[in-house]
């Protein structure tokens, strides 16, 4: 009776044991499994050679080790597959939730404060508020100062939770982010958690950049950021940062118009090229005060854009 109770008690503990084993590394599971297999093999060998195997306890220990390590490995694999699947679903949901429509010009701003899912300290909440204010400041600058020849760009703050790029954005993956989210331009940055100082970058998608040729500069460092200060001031006052921000966004929008015009055959083509040439010239006029900036020389004032203006104007005049 007592042994039956012990047996049921053991069975009750089995799931816990399996759970515990599934948390071990594959190497440990393999070692334990090998140990179990050796015990069983030794038992069989002794049984065959001398007619007497190992003790019941050793036999049971060998069997249990083998069983638990195999089951643990199976559980571990299935749990990992489940996690992978869940991860894929989360990423798919993230991309679905954050993908922008292609009818408008989207500037996606990656949340570079790298916030936790549910901020629990006052400073984390504060930092996130500052990031939101930063995005609002950028939006205000763009809506206020982009000339009327352009439609208004859309701005989106991209969260980092569940993001496939939660380890950060850099030169190697910014194109992938723009591409997967269907955006036109991407802003990302790095900030120091304590001081909230950092740097921000803006890049135009490869798809838009190619409109003007492969050599067109597509990336611009914007400005040294200080999330503690009013960012509208930062972008208004620092001429280079402001001009790069507004110049790059206008360039992206103008390239998009050129691309759209190139796809049109017939009546609307000339009209769209007229729009493109107006945008390209308005863009240069707007940031002409910073025309000697090396970044703008490679982008807004580049020879590729010269060529694009010439082509757009010829098309707009019906001469091509």
């Amino acid at each position: 009776m007592e042994s039956t109770d012990e047996f049921w008690g053991f069975l009750d503990r089995m799931p816990l044991l399996l759970q515990q084993y599934s948390t071990h590394s594959y190497v440990l599971l393999a070692l334990l499994g090998i140990a179990g297999a050796i015990l069983l093999a030794w038992h069989l060998f002794k049984l065959k050679s001398s007619g007497e195997g190992l003790s019941k306890l050793m036999f049971a220990a060998g069997g249990m080790l083998l069983f638990l390590s195999i089951s643990g490995a199976i559980l571990k694999i299935s749990s990992e597959l489940g996690e992978q699947q869940q991860g894929k679903e989360n990423i798919a949901r993230f991309l679905e939730d954050n993908r922008v429509d292609s009818d408008e010009h989207w500037v996606i701003i990656v949340d570079f404060t790298n916030p936790v899912a549910s901020p629990d300290t006052e400073s984390e909440v504060n930092t996130q508020d500052k990031m939101r204010l930063f995005v609002a400041g950028i939006k205000e600058v763009l809506l206020e100062d982009i000339p009327e020849d352009f439609s208004q760009p859309r701005i989106k703050l991209l969260p980092t939770k569940d993001s496939p790029w939660n380890k950060g954005i850099d030169d190697n993956n910014y194109d992938e982010v723009i591409d997967k989210l269907n955006g036109d331009e991407l802003m990302w940055g790095v900030i120091h958690k304590e001081s909230l100082n950092g740097k921000a970058f803006l890049a135009i998608s490869a798809q838009l950049g190619n409109t003007a040729g492969h050599d067109l500069g597509r990336q611009a460092p914007l400005h040294d950021l200080d999330l503690n200060s009013d960012l509208r001031r930062e972008f208004q006052f620092d001429r280079d940062g402001y001009s790069r921000l507004i110049g790059m966004v206008m360039l992206g929008m103008a390239l998009e118009t050129v691309q759209r015009a190139e796809q049109i055959q017939g009546e609307g083509r000339r009209k769209e090229f007229l729009r493109a040439s107006k945008q390209l010239t308005a863009m240069r006029k707007k940031v002409s005060g910073a025309r000697d900036d090396p970044i703008l020389k490679r982008t807004v004032y580049s020879s590729q854009v010269d060529e694009l203006i010439r082509k757009s104007e010829l098309e707009a005049e019906g001469r091509q």
Partner: protein, 372 residues
């Protein structure tokens, strides 16, 4: 007796308007104020500036105060300018104007103002206030023009081509660089210079010489301020309006014509140097050079540059077509005029009155050439 009293009243009212400074600060308490229709204040004014309290961001409370200061300085500087006026909209402490940017435009149009001004204030890292000002030309002032004439050799003799190279003002907004609030006086110089130019550039104005001279003085005063050393766009605009003012003065003061035109050319050239991406300075320089007897070959590249920088401008394309016809490029001129036609339809702009005349003339000349 009654008639005499009435006449005297009208006369004194007129003199009062001409000699006093016209300015009003309107405190807007009703949040729906700008959604309602209002009477036009100073309806006689034709160099009217509508300004708004400056939006102030965190840490700065002086937006209303700075707007009042600018109001007073502008008012002082337009003393003696007939038709000059300023309206400043302010809200009481703790209140602000909603939909700021949209409201500015709407209110300026409703008040039939020629200029509107708005802006923001920011604290810099040391806590000092910075000011960021935008000037909109709701109704741009008159530009300048020069008569153009050329002769085309034809089998039946020379055919004259006549017209005007027009300077249409396409720069309808000037974004000043953010500056320390202490630079408000320099901004007031620029704004009052513009107001004097608005009035002086009107052909019918009998006091044009005096007004344009004041405009030149005020705009030069802005240029002399260190502010213009860094703000290329606004400095270019200041140079350009001075060039226009000198050009008009050259017509008004025949004895000083040569000196005025020389000044006009120098200022227009400097305006191009400061902002080579703005089309208007190229047109202005072309107008000045056309009036000073430069050849069409010298003028055409300037007008071509203006077209490249303002591809949607009817006037720029028309100017180039006119001058190109004078250099014998008839086909190019005809094509360009067709483009002006196209722009007129696309941009839904009013008919360009010189277009049909020149188009007919060039087509006739072209067909005559082909026949012979």
């Amino acid at each position: 007796m009654k008639r005499l009293t009435l006449c005297l009243f009208v006369l004194f009212s007129g003199l009062f308007i001409l000699t006093t400074r016209a300015g009003i600060q309107i405190e807007v308490v009703d949040p729906l104020y700008f959604e309602k229709k209002h009477e036009v204040i100073f309806p006689w004014a034709d160099a009217k500036l509508v300004t708004f309290e400056f939006e102030a961001v965190e840490g700065i409370e002086g937006g209303k105060q700075r707007a009042k200061e600018l109001h007073n300085q502008f008012l002082q500087k337009i003393q003696g300018l007939p038709g000059g006026a300023i309206l400043t909209f302010l809200t009481p402490e703790g209140q602000r104007i909603e939909n700021y940017r949209f409201t500015v435009k709407q209110a300026a149009q409703q008040q039939k103002a020629q200029m509107s001004l708005w802006g923001r204030m920011f604290p810099d890292k040391s806590g000092d206030s910075l000011i960021n000002v935008r000037l909109g030309l709701v109704e741009p002032p008159n530009g300048i023009q020069a008569a153009f004439e050329s002769r085309i050799e034809m089998p039946r003799g020379e055919q004259p081509i006549r017209g005007f190279i027009n300077d249409e003002i396409t720069q309808k907004r000037i974004d000043f660089l953010t500056v320390k609030e202490s630079n408000i006086a320099a901004l007031a110089d620029f704004l009052s210079g513009m107001a004097f130019y608005y009035k002086g550039a009107k052909k019918e104005n009998s006091r044009a010489i005096q007004l344009l001279e004041t405009a030149i003085r005020r705009l030069n005063s802005y240029i002399d301020n260190t502010l213009s050393q860094v703000d290329y766009s606004a400095a270019s605009a200041a140079h350009l309006y001075i060039a226009r003012a000198y050009f008009i003065l050259a017509d008004l003061e025949r004895e000083k014509r040569k000196a005025h035109r020389l000044n006009a050319e120098q200022y227009a050239t400097k305006a191009i140097d400061l902002n080579p991406y703005e089309p208007d300075p190229y047109t202005v320089l072309a107008v000045i050079r056309s009036a000073t007897g430069h050849t069409t070959q010298e003028i055409a590249p300037l007008l071509k540059k203006a077209v490249l920088l303002a591809p949607g401008s009817l006037t720029a394309s028309y100017n180039l077509a006119l001058v190109n016809s004078g250099t014998g490029q008839l086909q190019d001129a005809i094509q360009r005029l067709e483009h002006v036609d196209y722009l007129q339809q696309q941009e839904q702009q009013p008919t360009y009155r010189e277009l049909d005349k020149l188009q007919d003339k060039l087509r006739t000349i072209n067909s005559d050439r082909q026949t012979h």
